[in-house]
């Protein structure tokens, strides 16, 4: 698998990472290098192997349905730039 320049530009857009055009070629090279390295895994025949999702042997931990958190808007907003009252504020987005 190898990525072209347009695909890398699109991935950057989706990730909201600003990659200037003159940086794209280097990025294409880097990403293709990484992909080639990962593709070494393709040498293994995994046809009969279940996908591994759990190496711990534990089940998904679960909680009871009780309210144990919240009621602290100040803490939630502590890092927010320019909150309005108890709201986060962002540049106007109207779809």
């Amino acid at each position: 698998m190898s990525l072209d320049k347009a695909t890398v530009r699109e991935i950057a857009r989706l990730a909201r990472i600003d990659v200037p055009d003159q940086g794209l070629d280097a990025m294409v090279g880097d990403l293709n290098g990484i992909l080639a390295w990962v593709e070494a895994l393709n040498e293994l025949d995994t046809a009969a192997v279940e996908p591994l999702a759990n190496v711990t042997g534990h089940d998904l931990p679960a909680r009871a349905d009780t309210v144990t958190d919240g009621d602290d808007a100040a803490r939630v907003l502590a890092n927010a730039p320019d909150p309005i009252d108890s709201f986060f504020a962002v540049p106007k987005v109207v779809e």
């Binding site: 759990n54 009621d71 808007a73 939630v76 108890s86 709201f87 986060f88 962002v90």
Partner: protein, 487 residues
Amino acid sequence: MSADGMIIQGRTGDWEVVIGLEVHAQVMSAAKLFSGAATAFGAPPNSQVSLVDAAMPGMLPVINRTCVEQAVRTGLGINAAINMTSVFDRKNYFYADLPQGYQISQYTQPIVGEGEIEIVLADGRRKNIGVERLHLEQDAGKLMHDQHPSKSVVDLNRAGVALMEIVSKPDLRSPEEAGAYVTKLRSIMRYLGTCDGNMEQGSLRADANVSVRRPGDPLGTRCEIKNVNSIRFLMQAIDYEARRQVEVIEDGGEIDQETRLFDANNGTTRTMRSKEDAHDYRYFPDPDLLPLVLDPAEVEALRAALPELPDAKKDRLMADYGLSEIDATILTEERETAAFYETAAAGRDGKTVANWLISELFGLLNKTGRGLADSPITPEALGGLVDLIGDGTISGRIAKDVFAEMVETGQAADAIVAEKGLKQVSDSGEIAGLIDGVIADNADKVAEYQGGKDKLFGFFVGQVMKKSGGKANPQMVNQLLREKLDG
């Protein structure tokens, strides 16, 4: 099947409408899907937000067991396959109401697989609508645009609340079928207590995929109408969208696969995003969450504890009380309505009680914009009224006056009848006396009647009833009048 759905008659021939629905139903739970913050509606901004919901670095989601059970119970309620292993994925997109930059959802392995919902249409036709899947996911926060001239403000109270997304197969063929499907799904979830179904508060929202085709043709290109928050609007939106598509195609155009918004102000849909701007969500399994593995014994325990659901209750009311399917469907849409009915109908004629409940009491409540919970008449009081009709104490005609008085004063029917002297007159001597008086007062009409003007019979009945103040037993009046006039 297609013959039963809506057919749009275009200039160039008939068109069939194909609809699939994605319903987002908020899970009834005290806490959120992956955090311990509360879910109550209407709390002060950002007061029900944990650092998990705000996506602070290093926070880890821990699943709420009850939300899982609610999804399983909903799946069982729509006769769906429960997937014993399911997987949470990240659905990636950037928006100001989504602090994580991704929604935790389920993509390739949802918790519930294929199921089925039966709908009953106005003409009594039954139809099974397939459900493709049900999965659990997080809701987003709420954006408001009217609080500040250049800013949008964000309240994360809703962020992370558990949603069930329930995806139908493209089995729906008319706005009516779509409305009946959402109504039925809502009813099942309210019986189960898994979603409160409150569309005004956004606990239930629907996206509709709509396309048109020539009957028998393969599926046409679809448009998705997003986030419709009432069943009436949903039906309007589908109707408008289908007709729009027919017009575009008949004008020689093509349908663009796109996302559209419904405008409730003018009943139309308009482009929200075209295919070029379609999101690329880049789903992948959430590395913070292990696969969700269910215990078969627990699923069976949930199945065993399910309440009687609308279909079963409807069938039982039809069998036990001799109700029509339409009446039984109306009475079982809400569990509270069915309970009211069964209390009122216990030991009485079920059809009479159903008639009084549906045409009189519901009529009154609709007119005054109230729900059954605010009914001025209790089920026992309605039953008491039906008793008086059943044993001949009052006629159906007088019963309507008594009913109005019950609504007005909250008194019991028998007390009103006693106080106002409304007891039906079934004494043949007394009725005969009234008839004699009417005959004596209307000698000319009697002569006309006996001369062959049969239609006058109704006039005499009316006069006798009037003289009795409406209290004479109508059957006896008829019978005795016949004897006197024809005998």
